[in-house]
């Protein structure tokens, strides 16, 4: 397989998404509503009553990385719905009829999801700065956060495509998405520290990938303590490679 061609196909798929976003930006703006509510209502309220043991950071500082991770998770996990919709209108058939390798199409789609994630991250950064949330603005840290956002979106969107090849309908994907996001979100350290959870939930949280992503983002945006960062990123890359590979094998099932 020709690596240059492979990557160029993936980038072309992402370019396709970028062009669509450029033609219609409405979705980007609608997607900012939910994280904005979390920060403005939940974040500001709990910040005032100081109910959470968030150590040396204020509550709103604490949940900013959590909300960022959560909203990228939402985009990624529901990306399978977009792919099912594209199947329904024939776009996937068209893409799979080109000489581009299947895996490059799946990789490209996951890059497209991460493109949406990056836009989301930009918005949340802007919102946090507007609210006066204190975050570390070191350029390397910011780059690191974006790298994690991209990997995270790729990982979960390819998982979503893998599931879509078996679920095949938008309704089922909607159900699966909801069944996954809520437990992942509430059983993570996104909006409260692990220490306040009941013991059993603490165990769940330790195997929850979202916790590791939030952890990585917190270390770059707040603490500057990079102890676990390499492991976090390595785990994400590994999971992404596995999911993209599996989804490339199964994607043709969508057409059956």
């Amino acid at each position: 397989m020709n690596i240059a061609r492979f990557l160029s196909s993936s980038i072309t798929i992402a370019e396709m998404e970028a062009r669509k976003i450029r033609h219609d930006t409405t979705e980007l703006w609608i997607r900012i509503v939910q994280p904005a509510l979390w920060l403005l209502v939940f974040g500001v309220t709990f910040n005032t009553i100081k109910a959470m043991p968030t150590g040396s950071f204020s509550y709103i500082q604490f949940i900013t990385p959590g909300i960022l991770a959560q909203s990228v998770l939402f985009i990624a996990i529901f990306y399978g719905i977009t792919v099912v919709w594209e199947r329904d209108v024939g776009i996937i058939t068209k893409l799979l009829s080109t000489p581009s390798p299947r895996a490059s199409i799946v990789l490209g789609k996951s890059l497209a999801a991460s493109l949406r994630g990056v836009f989301q991250a930009v918005m949340i950064f802007a919102l946090a700065l507007a609210l006066g949330v204190q975050i570390r603005l070191d350029p390397l840290d910011i780059l690191g956060v974006f790298a994690v956002v991209i990997l995270f979106a790729m990982c979960f969107s390819s998982l979503s495509m893998l599931l879509a090849s078996f679920m095949k309908t938008r309704e089922r994907m909607m159900g699966i998405g909801q069944a996954l996001t809520m437990p992942l979100f509430f059983a993570s350290n996104a909006i409260y520290p692990i220490s306040v959870m009941p013991i059993w939930l603490q165990y769940v949280s330790k195997v929850n990938p979202l916790s590791y992503v939030v952890d990585a983002m917190r270390s770059m945006l707040l603490s500057g303590n990079y102890e676990n960062l390499l492991i976090d990123i390595f785990a994400l890359i590994l999971a992404t490679v596995i999911f993209v590979t599996l989804a490339s094998i199964t994607i043709k099932r969508l057409l059956e």
């Binding site: 209108v89 024939g90 009829s97 080109t98």
Partner: protein, 337 residues
Amino acid sequence: MGSSNLKSDNIMAVETKNLTKIYHGNIRAVDNVSFSVKQGEIFGLLGPNGAGKTTVIKMIVTLTHITEGTLQVFGIDSAKSAELVRSMLGYVPQSVSVDTDLTGYENLLIFSKLSYVGKKERDERIKEALEYMGLTERAKDLVKHYSGGMMRRLEIAQALVNRPRILLLDEPSIGLDPASKMHVWESIKQLKKQFGTTILITTHDMSEADELCDRIAIMSDGKISVLGSPVELKKSVGGDIITLNLTSVHHGIEFPKDIGKIIHSDEESIQILVENGEEAIPLITNFYRDQKITIDSISINKPNLDDVFMKYAKRRLHDEFSTHASSARRDFVRHTR
């Protein structure tokens, strides 16, 4: 590519042997089908809904697994080198599949990139394809504002940026108004003439097949029931029928057997079955002139592909409604979206 045997003429554009596709639930969509498409011809796959035409095309485009049998495109085994096979073909699916959230130009751009058209040729080819399909003026508009006919033409333009050696068209004129249909037909004929592109087309429209195809295979229930040129097929259902209106019918005249056979006669008209109407008419008029009988009027009735279709694709109505109604409905839903 580049290997010289690809170019040689005795290689078939498509060659299938015992091709079979069994979908989930034991549906034999394609059942032990063997046929070849010659280079440079327009080959038609005809058949009613659910006959298995789309499934054959999907196997050629490597979009669905082949259950049994083999399939070669220009001598390349599609099971072994799927990407190489896809690089030689252009595919226009049955239902609209251009991206309506992009412009016409962008659809072609993305597609040419995914087909690895070199950066230098890209702009030129896109421009040509747009011109060829008459879309240059609307190239910068979002496709969602196009008419159905324009989308179809864009779809063909998309399949052309690849400069395919074989173009696969799945019911290309479905849902088109007569003018757009003509436009599509003209471009198909031009492609063959100008570039020698091999074309495989599926349709259930007999006039379309008659108009375009060099050879036709009629499919029914996953099998090919007959294959030949339109002329051969029409001949196989019987010859032309000539109807004569005479001033007076004279019974008892022996009609020469080498011209044709009288199949019906009444008070003032006679119907004669002949092999070739145009050649038979002068002979018939001479014959009656010699007999001193005046002909008032004369008409030829040629069998059309509808007759061929009825003969070879006939199936019980019962089947049509039970097994295949659902697939027809699904197609309909997709077309109207």
